[in-house]
């Protein structure tokens, strides 16, 4: 389990890009306007862009670069712009602290991001 942030530091409508995670590419953490918390891989599988900078509507995030849409609950891609899913991670709150249980699946990264993680 990984500590992410205090819930009070992530207001509704906000997002957080978590980097330097052990064995994982960056993760985007969202607190939706409806009060739900979701975490998915931050890097769009279509091209290297940060989903934490994207737009959240209902249970989906839209990539700011080419409008690929991912389901925040499952990581499923819309299949139009992005063909591959991002991983969805488990979010837990304990005493006002937000923790993540990272998925153990192999992340799918677009070419540019694959290079930058490897380096």
């Amino acid at each position: 389990m990984i500590y992410a942030c205090q819930l009070t530091d992530l207001p509704r409508g906000g997002s957080l890009r978590l980097t330097d995670l052990p064995g994982s590419p960056p993760v985007a953490l969202f607190h939706t306007e409806d009060g739900e918390l979701y975490a998915v891989d931050d890097t769009c599988t279509h091209q290297d862009a940060s989903l934490a900078d994207g737009f959240v509507e209902d249970c989906a995030v839209e990539c700011p670069l080419h409008a690929a849409i991912f389901d925040l609950r499952t990581g499923e891609a819309d299949g139009m712009v992005a063909r591959f899913p991002v991983r969805a991670h488990r979010v837990m709150i304990e005493d006002g602290a937000v923790h993540l249980q990272l998925s153990e699946a192999v992340p799918y990264l677009p070419p540019g991001a694959r290079r930058s993680v490897a380096s």
Binding site: P26, A49, D53, F55, E62, L65, G112, A113, S116
Partner: protein, 396 residues
């Protein structure tokens, strides 16, 4: 002069007044105009773009043209392309239409609607509606890239009388003294225009005129009425005093009175629409005209307002967009606006035909020193001095 000067004032800029003859002259009926080169010389036009158009407040759109968040328009100010966009916070912002990455034109359509961002079609640098850089390919691997300083370059914006005004200069002049001051100069006070509640009026009709004439010919034409009885039969019928040749703009706070038989400001003098509620009794049945330099004319009549916006495109080409604004319930009712619109549409066509007849003669050798202003046109000389002052090398 060096070729590095971005907008050189030609060192042979002609004087407005040809050198006078020997000895002091008696007050003359005729005052000289600018010489012909002022209307044709690309160097003078470039200097006007630099020293006037790009340093003044420019009226670029009706606020209603940007109806919803994400609505955008591209407009020309001097030599710059500017994109106007309404944000998700409902505010209207203006940016240089230049991608900060490699300089591609960001928006190429004259108007459009985006959802959340403006994206460069070249490398997909993506800006939110406040101009901040929010995404670009591989931006996450460039954490040192500041998203604000690499965001779109902002342009000063004001909303006034329902219009969007921008100034591309880094230090815009005072909007109050330049724009609102022009209204006060003409009407005597600002309340007189506020009576018309222009910001609450709705766009009833818009007509664009692509005029093959220098922008100053159009300003000069609008400022005088010496031509009215000759080329504006319908207007002179509605405003009989225009036959005297003195435009409303010759005076301060003067509205030209409708003729006795005239019921409204319409092409045939028939009744127009209901008076705008705030219009004062003394303003009823009168026509007021205001020039807001360098590119706006405002015409006030009791039941509507006509706004001219000019975009000088070349020494001999000016785009003029004219809006007819009415009370919202008049526009919503679907009532026929043609009799109202047709009057000033005809005036526009008559005026722009006259300007287009004048433009080809400007390079003539007999007009090298210009022509003459008769007494009812003498106030135009002040406009000429204003243009010359703005182009003077020592003008701040």
């Amino acid at each position: 002069m060096t070729t590095l000067d971005p907008a050189p004032v030609p060192d042979t800029v002609p004087d407005a007044a040809p050198t006078a003859g020997p000895g002091p002259a008696a007050p003359s009926s005729l005052v000289p105009t600018l010489g012909g080169r002022w209307y044709t010389d690309p160097g003078i036009f470039a200097a006007e773009q630099d020293r006037i158009l790009e340093r003044s407040w420019t009226c670029v759109a009706h606020a209603g043209d940007l109806a919803a968040p994400g609505a955008y328009r591209t407009v020309t100010v001097g030599r710059e392309s500017i994109v106007l966009v309404r944000g998700r916070d409902q505010g209207i912002r203006a940016f240089f239409n230049v991608c900060r990455h490699r300089g591609a034109r960001l928006c190429v359509e004259p108007e459009g609607q985006v959802r959340r961002s403006l994206q460069c079609p070249y490398h997909a640098w993506t800006y939110d509606l406040t101009g901040t850089l929010i995404a670009a390919p591989n931006l996450t691997s460039m954490p040192d890239v500041d998203r604000v300083s690499n965001g779109l370059a902002p342009v000063a914006v004001r909303e006034w009388i329902g219009y969007v005004w921008v100034c591309v200069a880094p230090d815009p002049p005072s909007f109050e003294s330049d724009v609102i001051g022009s209204v006060i100069t003409r009407l005597g006070d600002v309340e007189s225009i506020e009576h018309y509640g222009i910001e609450g009026l709705a766009l009833g009709r818009r007509i664009s005129y692509d005029v093959a004439a220098n922008w100053k010919l159009i300003v000069e034409n609008f400022m005088e009425c010496y031509h009215c009885a000759t080329i504006h039969p319908e207007l002179t019928e509605v405003l009989p005093e225009f036959a005297d040749g003195y435009a409303a703009q010759y005076f301060v706070g003067h509205g030209a009175e409708f003729g006795e038989e005239v019921q409204g400001f319409t092409v045939d003098g028939s009744a127009g629409h209901g008076r705008i509620p705030g219009v004062a009794e003394a303003q009823d049945r009168r026509y007021y005209a205001i020039t807001i330099r360098p590119q706006v004319f405002v015409n006030l009549v009791p039941d509507h307002v006509i706004v001219h916006r000019m975009t000088p495109l070349a020494p001999d080409r000016t785009l003029v967009e004219v809006d007819w604004l009415f009370l919202p319930d008049v526009v919503a009712s679907g009532v026929d606006l043609d009799p109202s619109v047709e009057l000033f549409h005809r005036v526009n066509v008559q005026d722009f035909d006259a300007c287009e007849r004048t433009q080809p003669a400007m390079p003539s050798r007999v007009y090298a020193d210009g022509g003459s202003l008769v007494p009812s046109e003498h106030h135009i000389a002040e406009f000429h001095r204003w243009v010359q002052d703005r182009l003077a090398p020592d003008h701040p």
